[in-house]
Structures are given as structure tokens and as C-alpha cells.
Assembly symmetry: C2
Homo-oligomer: 140 residues x 2
């Protein structure tokens, strides 16, 4: 189910995050490009359109959104933090050949895990690595 900008604006308001032009653009980019972009990708794409845009702003925006739970931070490779507008339960698959990150449905909620009594779990992440079908076909 896709969220409209109105929904997003309401969410922001609710979390006391001001709806600036830059933040709107970042959110717009994330919703139109749900392919888990890096800060650099967002910057490169938006900079021509908003020449004054600074990377610092993108970082602070994403941190605010993540804090508010409107965006999820994906950490698969240590040197490239990615951001995901989809907040519902799903896993990520990173192709080690082409670098693409795919979403996949996964029943993370019902994953059997022992030894966690007394732990307060706020966040669950699942990611796989391997070779995607495209690269498998091309590189064989």
C-alpha cells in the first residue's frame, strides 16, 4: 500500500518535524525511488534541481525521519548506508555481483529465536547475500 504525500505530511506534523522544501524533496525521492538509495545517490539526483541542497541536510533529514520511524536504515555493507521508505516487515537481498538490493517478503515476526527473554526488541532486520537471477544468467 503506497502512502501519499498528505499521509507523509501528516506523519511529519505528528512527529513535530517541520515540512521544509528540502525534506519534502527527499521524501518525494524516496517514495518514487524505493530502491534503497544512498545519501550520495539522493544528493546527485536532487542537486541539479535544488542547487543549494547540501549533503548535511540530507543526512540530518534522513536521521530525523529514521528517528521518527518514517524511514528505515539499511546497513548491509559498512561503507554504504541505505534508506528505505518501506517500513513494513520485509527482508533485503543484496546481489554481490551487481550490488542491487532487492526486497523480499519474509515472515520476520514469527522467526523462532531463543534466549531473548528480558530483552526489549525494537527492531528486526533480515538480509541475505548472494547472486541475483540476472547476474547468474549473464556471468555463467
Amino acid at each position: 500500500m503506497k502512502r501519499s504525500f498528505d499521509d507523509l505530511a501528516r506523519d511529519l506534523k505528528e512527529k513535530n518535524i517541520r515540512l521544509s522544501h528540502q525534506r519534502l524533496k527527499v521524501l518525494e525521492y524516496l517514495t518514487e525511488n524505493p530502491n534503497h538509495p544512498t545519501v550520495d545517490q539522493i544528493y546527485t539526483e536532487l542537486h541539479p534541481e535544488i542547487p543549494s541542497l547540501s549533503k548535511t541536510t540530507i543526512y540530518s533529514t534522513l536521521n530525523a525521519l529514521a528517528e521518527a520511524g518514517l524511514v528505515r536504515v539499511i546497513t548491509i555493507e559498512d561503507n554504504e548506508t541505505r534508506y528505505d521508505i518501506r517500513t513494513e516487515d520485509h527482508g533485503h537481498f543484496k546481489c554481490e555481483a551487481c550490488g542491487t538490493i532487492y526486497d523480499f517478503g519474509a515472515d520476520i515476526g514469527s522467526l523462532k529465536a531463543d534466549d531473548l527473554t528480558g530483552f526489549e526488541v525494537n527492531d528486526k532486520h533480515v538480509y541475505f547475500k548472494g547472486i541475483c537471477p540476472q547476474c547468474h544468467k549473464n556471468n555463467n
Copy 2:
């Protein structure tokens, strides 16, 4: 089941990785401290004992071991790569208060995931975030 150094030495030989003094020490540290250390922690601990030890060596050693599958790379926070000598199926829990990373048993192999037909999965990672029992008790 704990692996002896002989096992490790045999594994290294099998993978054509030379058993240098430094590598032995790094492996020894990892087996004795299975608390998912960072490169910096390993360096700080081993440096007094081996004054000539360089961080570059630790990086290259860990990369070689990871490549050979003798060590697992844990990427939870983007700015701190951690290393795990345990290679069997298990999840990680990171306490957002104290930063400790706990192991927990999890049946990752049988996690239900759709939409991955045609994908070659080489590596599965599961991590949770939240508050550990200790911090829950102290900070309430």
C-alpha cells in the same frame, strides 16, 4: 562446540592461508573473545603484546579469514564492522543503550521467505536491536 587451534590451523592450510604469527594471534583473540570485537578493539588489545602489529595487518587478516569463511563479518552499525568467529546459524542482538552485541539462537535456515526463486543465497543475516535486560534494569 569450540574449535581448537589445531582445527583452525588445518582450516587455514586447507584454504592456502599462511599461518603467520600475527594471524595466529588474531585468531587466538577471536576465539578467546567471541564478543564480536571491532578492528580497533583487537588492535588495542594486541598491540602491547606485539608492538609491531599494524592495523592494516588486522584488516587484511580478517578479510582473508572472512573470504575463506572462517570468520563472519557483522555489519549492524555502519561505522563499526565487527567480526565473529562463530560461523554456525545464529542471530545478533545489539543493545542500543550499552552497545553490547549478544548472540541468540535462531532458526534462520527455516525462515519463510517468498519471491527468491532464481536467487543464489550465500549468506543469511539476522539482527535485532533494542534494550538488553541489564540496561532495562538500570535505566528505569
